[in-house]
């Protein structure tokens, strides 16, 4: 209990620090202007969403091989958080791309893979919603958690080959970051990682409690 409270406090401080570094410490980019600030949140969210789906992937194996529901709680909780951050990536990306690339969307491998990732894990959450039996829900969604994650690199490579056949109209920006910007990015990633851990601890605890509640309710109050 104490550890989770410590994580809460640390997350609060880290997020405040991340905001300071992103908006005040890091200089305004010469060419792009203030819109470049979105970069610190966009990249950190992308990292968290991939990391969250990786946690789902690992926990899915444990669900299948150990039959312990705690792993199902962590896997599904992590997928929910991953979807939130993946959505943030897909929203902040176009906001940045419109003034810089002149278009909201382009079928770049990274963009397209992220979009498909989003669809796979929305499917994961929908599947969980429509399965009533606890046991089937855990096992079937674990299967999707494993297969979906293995599929993502294959999707990425297929789209990269597809795009290299067609000429890539847009030149990729980036490279040459100022050292202050790099520091701000790392602080931001650190803050987002803590935020992820905090959310995962809380959502897993809620899921665990809910499972206990359902058990008690089905026994008509007798534990």
């Amino acid at each position: 209990m104490k550890l989770s409270a410590l994580i809460d406090v640390l997350t609060f401080l880290a997020v405040a620090l991340g905001l300071y570094f992103a908006f005040i410490y890091a200089p305004v980019e010469n060419v792009m202007g203030p819109v470049q600030k979105i970069f610190y949140f966009h990249v950190a969210s992308a990292w968290i969403s991939f990391f969250a789906f990786f946690v789902t992937f690992i926990c899915s194996f444990f669900v299948l091989f150990t039959n312990k529901y705690i792993f199902d709680d962590v896997a599904s909780g992590s997928a929910e958080i991953g979807i939130i951050f993946c959505t943030i990536v897909l929203i902040t990306g176009p906001i940045w791309a419109k003034p810089i690339w002149g278009t909201w969307w382009t079928w770049d491998p990274r963009l397209t893979t992220t979009l498909i990732l989003w669809f796979i894990y929305v499917g994961y959450l929908m599947l969980r919603k429509f399965l009533d039996e606890e046991d089937k829900r855990a096992k079937f969604s674990a299967a999707l958690g494993i297969i979906g994650f293995i599929d993502v690199p294959i999707v990425f490579f297929s789209i990269r080959w597809w795009r290299t056949i067609h000429p890539n109209v847009l030149q990729k920006g980036g490279g040459g970051l100022a050292p202050e910007m790099l520091t701000a990015l790392f602080v931001s990633i650190f803050a987002f990682t803590l935020l992820y851990v905090m959310m995962l601890v809380k959502t897993s605890a809620i899921k665990h409690m809910f499972r206990r509640y359902e058990k008690i309710a089905s026994n008509k109050g007798e534990i």
Partner: protein, 226 residues
């Protein structure tokens, strides 16, 4: 190993006998795929030359959409009367039962393609075998990849409250490598470009098939254990 293959063969035989009698799966898939071929033709001006660049995609859409329909029907047949549960309780390898279903679904899809592809070639006035017969390999490998993941997710989706609605939602995003590679190969064959260009796409489809066959073989017993 021999027992394993016998189980796979028995399941395929059962499905084929059932299908020969009812013809429900293949006929509904076939009609739907022909409808997709015809409905999509309204995208183009009649006789437009640029259509050759695009029709490969229509063939794959026809296969994928009608395949989703057929997989659902095939799995619904299996759960009526608790047949699937009985099969999984049988004292045989569970993954053998699964791969039996995969191969029967694969055969149904191939039968559908054998009829759809020539009609598609007539309607769009193209020849996908003009350069080589590699199109057959692409169709076979792509269909197998679709059958493997499709059978697993049809098994999962028929157990949900929404039944068949879940299957395309889960399957389509996962099938993107096959759809993309299949379309690229078809375009190469239809436009008569260098066949070696298509080999890397073929390798991608092959890798997809091998990876997911191995993964599902490894985890299937754990997924269905009660």
């Amino acid at each position: 190993m021999k027992n394993y293959l016998t189980t796979v063969f028995n399941i395929v035989e059962k499905d084929l006998l059932l299908e020969l009698k009812s013809k429900e799966v293949v006929v509904s898939m076939l009609l739907f795929s022909l409808l997709v071929v015809i409905v999509f033709s309204f995208i183009f001006e009649p006789g437009a030359a640029y259509k050759d660049n695009l029709v490969g995609g229509i063939l794959w859409m026809a296969i994928i959409f009608s395949g989703v329909l057929g997989l659902n029907k095939s799995m619904l047949n299996e759960i009526t009367g608790g047949n699937l549960n009985a099969l999984l309780l049988a004292p045989v390898d569970r993954s053998a039962v699964f791969f039996g279903k995969v191969f029967s679904n694969f055969l149904f899809l191939i039968i559908m393609e054998i009829i759809t592809v020539p009609i598609f070639m007539v309607f769009y006035n193209i020849n996908i075998f003009a350069n080589s017969f590699m199109s057959i390999v692409v169709l076979a490998l792509g269909t197998y990849g679709f059958a493997v993941l499709g059978t697993l997710f049809s098994l999962i989706s028929v157990k949900t409250k929404t039944r068949e609605i879940m299957l395309p939602l889960l399957l389509l995003p996962l099938m993107i490598p096959i759809i993309l590679a299949g379309i690229q190969c078809m375009n190469i064959y239809i436009l008569g470009e260098d066949v070696t260009e298509s080999y890397k796409w073929l390798k991608l489809i092959g890798a997809f098939d091998v990876i997911f066959t191995a993964v599902i073989y490894a985890i299937f017993d754990y997924i269905v254990e009660e």
